[in-house]
């Protein structure tokens, strides 16, 4: 009986220890479906730029991390409801999201672009290579006009709750028929099937898909940044969690200084997307 009691006691004790060890871990939520930012390999393991960067940042913070998967459309609600403590999911820093959560400083930036299938009438639009929408200059305004005319009545597909959807909803390119999908994978599928006349997402998401699927997906129009597209990608953290916010900001500083961010970004993107 005594041995029995002892066993129970030690099991309970070890549970307690495991429990407290878990409590110390920083839980980071990611989508796992937005390569090269974050995705999964064949074995179902989370990989990608942000997964590797997350472990690096946690090393600088000096705490253990656990990366958990969360569907994109429930990402911010899940953070607020404490399913995890931080978001690293290619989430751009926008004014709209900042009403709900805080962001660390940006660690990487991406440009968005329209993509079409080769041979589409939307291929080869007469626009500059890139436009910034924070303070659009004459060339950017002209490009938006060109896009408005070209996209009128067309179906443009985007992932739901993204900066890309916000941009199309903002009316900067007029009234387009916006179709929203749960994941970028589904956007790619419907672009290839011809249900979408065009799709809007991070330019790297399309080049990654074109490379892996062998489908003739090509970028068209200008690359977009600023304005509705936000100011880089940062770590999303609950508003009341200032301690963790400071820790991440410091860790990003250190990782940037040591060249970790550009090294990891170059590895996954093929170019230095760090900021």
């Amino acid at each position: 009986m005594n041995i029995f009691k002892k066993t129970i006691f030690s099991v309970l004790l070890s549970l307690l220890v495991i429990g407290s060890a878990n409590a110390d871990k920083i839980k980071i939520g990611t989508e796992g479906a937005y390569p090269p930012w974050n995705s999964k390999n064949e074995a179902g393991k989370l990989i990608g730029f942000e997964v590797e960067l997350a472990y690096t940042l946690c090393r600088y913070i000096g705490q253990q991390c656990e990366i958990v998967e969360q569907d994109w459309d429930g990402m911010i609600p899940a953070l607020i409801m404490r399913k995890f403590d931080a978001i690293m999911a290619g989430m751009s820093i926008t004014a709209e999201r900042q009403k709900a959560i805080s962001f660390s400083q940006g660690y990487a930036d991406e440009v968005a672009s329209l993509a079409v299938m080769k041979g589409s009438s939307l291929e080869g639009l007469d626009t500059p290579a890139g436009i910034n929408l924070t303070k659009p200059d004459a060339a950017a305004k002209k490009a938006l006009k060109t896009l408005t005319a070209a996209l009128a009545g067309k179906t443009v597909c985007v992932q739901t709750a993204t900066i890309h959807q916000n941009f199309l909803d903002s009316g900067d390119v007029g009234k387009v028929n916006v179709r929203t999908y749960k994941t970028q994978d589904e956007v790619n599928l419907d672009l290839a099937s011809g249900r979408c006349d065009a799709a809007l997402a991070a330019a790297v998401a399309f080049s990654d898909y074109a490379e892996k699927s062998g489908k003739p997906v090509v970028l068209t129009g200008p690359t977009f940044s600023g304005g509705a597209f936000g100011n880089g990608v940062g770590v999303g953290i609950r508003k009341d969690d200032t301690e963790l916010l400071n820790a991440f900001n410091k860790a990003i500083d250190k990782a940037r200084k040591n060249g970790d961010i550009s090294r990891i970004a170059t590895k996954w993107f093929g170019f230095d997307a760090s900021m």
Binding site: D73, P77, I101, A161, N166, T180, E186, L189, S193, G194
Partner: protein, 223 residues
Amino acid sequence: MDLELMINSFPKLLSAAVITLKLLSVSLIIGLFIGLLFAILRLNKNILINKFAYGYSYIFRGTPLLVQIFIIYFGLGQIEYLRTTFLWVILKEPYWCAIIAFALNTGAYTSEILRSAFQTIKPGIVEAGQSLGISSKIIFYKIQIPIAIRQSLPAYGNEIILMMKGTSLASTVTIMDLTGVAKYIISTTFKPIEVFILAGGIYLFMTFCIHNLIQLLEKKYKY
């Protein structure tokens, strides 16, 4: 609780509920015809026809509705040959893909409901008709079908309610139905509780209406 958000999103959700009702009614009407046809095929004595009808209802009742929608929407969209045929005009539209999936699904269940209703009709009733010299065609249309419909009302009412909730899966293929719009509002406000409570309330109200309607019909066709 963000009351202002709830008040603001209510009209948007209501107009989305109209889409939900449209999806439901169109697929129920098509599904009822499919169900009736396959119920009759199930009662056929030819073993091949019988097995074919059984196979259809077995497949569609044995797989999740979500999988059926995905196969029809994303799966068929991958077949390049299909995109060159006239079928693509229909399959290109998410709305029709959802209708096809819902109608085939509810058709399978309806065929089972109607089949069992036909089989519960006492042979004496049919024999009574025969002894009066009524042709078997008229017995079928004027006696068997009305009784079968009455018998199947409670089970069919359940099927309507299940299907109504099933239409929420239309949002997975980009249709802005009640669930789709609720998700859209959440994606910009990040407040799932308020919006889902409202959407759930609207679904519950629709269930309430369907339930009462079926009860009314049951009373009307009592014998």
